[in-house]
Symmetry: C2
Subunit: 294 residues, 2 copies
């Protein structure tokens, strides 16, 4: 397939474009300012593609608390302009809208399926709810061939500071490089999250394009709850440095969900997807990557 990828320079985007090429697809990565409706329509009209993966979005939860208007505007209108361009050319292309587990927030005790309540804890989460239902509306109103995914946390090489794993790994590698002992400052270690290797995640995106059903929404995640403290301890164990851990409560976010565990049965049943890379392998790879690139 010829697959147009927006947000191809982001964390998941870079892994996805590589993976699509490995699987024999062609990833098209046009330069578009998606916030410019006219430019988006012109650029899209010149491309030939069978599918679109819409990854372009701001994902910084913390920043979204400080500048809510910016993230809402960016995430909603980038997608609106893309969908309008597709609608106007009567596109039959399969479109994958990447939403987020943050829509659910800390809505419940057990694992979260697609019918769980939304309890958004940030303007980022609200922007993702808006993207989600804008996608559904363009399916319902115009029959666009849209599938929505709600991925849970995913981790790997190239993820930006501001997310938990790179925040930890960066500090550990700095300690390693500057003398083998030091202190790392962390936020809430009690939160439980569901981590999937970004390589497993992008394979889910490709399967969704091929086997997902138009109009449907699917949760994607490992199904395993991991305490942030476990993740930190694993990373500290993988390092020879002597590391002191200090919890900084100012890094806690108000209303932050205590637990987010994915139920992705619907997606696994629809596509046969299964996450394959164990968390510890991913953490080792990420630590190694930071040691090499920093």
């Amino acid at each position: 397939m010829n697959i147009l990828v927006t947000g191809s320079s982001g964390f998941a985007g870079r892994h996805l474009t590589k993976y699509l090429q490995v699987k024999g697809h062609t990833a098209l990565i046009p330069e578009i300012d998606l916030l410019n409706a006219t430019e988006t329509e012109v650029v899209i009209s010149k491309q030939k593609f069978d599918a679109v993966v819409h990854l372009a979005a701001m994902a910084e939860v913390g920043t979204s608390m400080i500048s809510p208007a910016k993230i809402l505007r960016n995430n909603i209108f980038a997608q609106l302009n893309l969908l309008e361009a597709l609608r106007r050319r009567n596109s039959k292309a399969r479109v994958l809208i990447i939403c987020s587990a943050d829509e659910y927030g800390g809505s419940q005790e057990g694992s979260i399926d697609e019918n769980a309540q939304f309890m958004p804890a940030s303007p980022y989460a609200v922007s993702k709810i808006a993207q989600d239902f804008l996608g559904l509306q363009y399916f319902l109103s115009y029959g666009l061939n849209i599938i929505r995914l709600r991925p849970f946390n995913h981790i790997g090489e190239g993820q930006r500071i501001g997310f938990v794993v790179p925040d930890f790994v960066k500090q550990i590698v700095e300690i390693e490089k500057s003398g083998q002992s030091g202190e790392i400052i962390v936020g809430n270690l009690e939160a439980v999250r569901d981590f999937t290797d970004v390589l497993d995640m992008v394979s889910a995106y490709e399967l969704a394009l091929i086997k997902g059903q138009a109009g449907e929404v699917y949760n994607v995640g490992s199904g395993k709850g991991v305490k942030i403290s476990y993740l930190l301890n694993q990373l500290v164990k993988m390092s020879k440095a002597k590391i002191k851990i200090t919890v900084d409560e100012s890094r806690f976010r108000p209303g932050e969900p205590s637990q987010l565990i994915c139920n992705s049965e619907k997606f696994m049943k629809a596509t046969g997807w299964k996450p394959e890379i164990p968390l510890e392998k991913t953490l080792e790879r990420v630590l190694e990557w930071w040691r090499k690139t920093r």
Copy 2:
């Protein structure tokens, strides 16, 4: 209570401000451009109020299909600026966010409670989903004293053309004034909707302010499904004019819900609200109002 009302010049807003005065409250109706964040913060900071009813929003479903960006921008950012102004002054005021039954779309056969799926059939509906969860997020993240209502259709004097009752009544009154016989052009007569008198609806808003629980969302509607054809036939019967009805399929909206019936048990239980005005009385009053004002 001193109650700040946004959108006080709109259909429900005018009825609400009158009703609040009758009930002994003071309705504050400051001039604010809610799309201007700074102006909103300055004006809000000068007011003293115990509660806010946020009604200001574009509500034209049809227009939203043609200019989706406009309605999304208006409805989301007007509310964001209002909530940010309240958050910055640490407001304890009760805030009523007016959402919409359109969020559900035609999601199910029976009556719709608060847990029904969202099936938005217009960008208007998507903008209301965004308002809804932005309200929830400001409750969850900052403890703002927010209640959300999802009102189903409401009708009464002063509703604008573009909604079904004024569209019918305007044409009937025009026929009455221009010779007692003529044709009226209508859209989908098979759709089933839940109509509440706007006077019953604004009494629900006042009760929500007093008795609603912060963080909760409530559906508000009569609980009775009415076919649009029944509504039209009632109006035609109330007129002495000879009226021919012509269905214009170009007035059907793609993906329009076939049925929207409210389950407002949660709201009735929380507040004791009950709609009291029969549909036929409301239709007579609206017809009479149009005859006098046109």
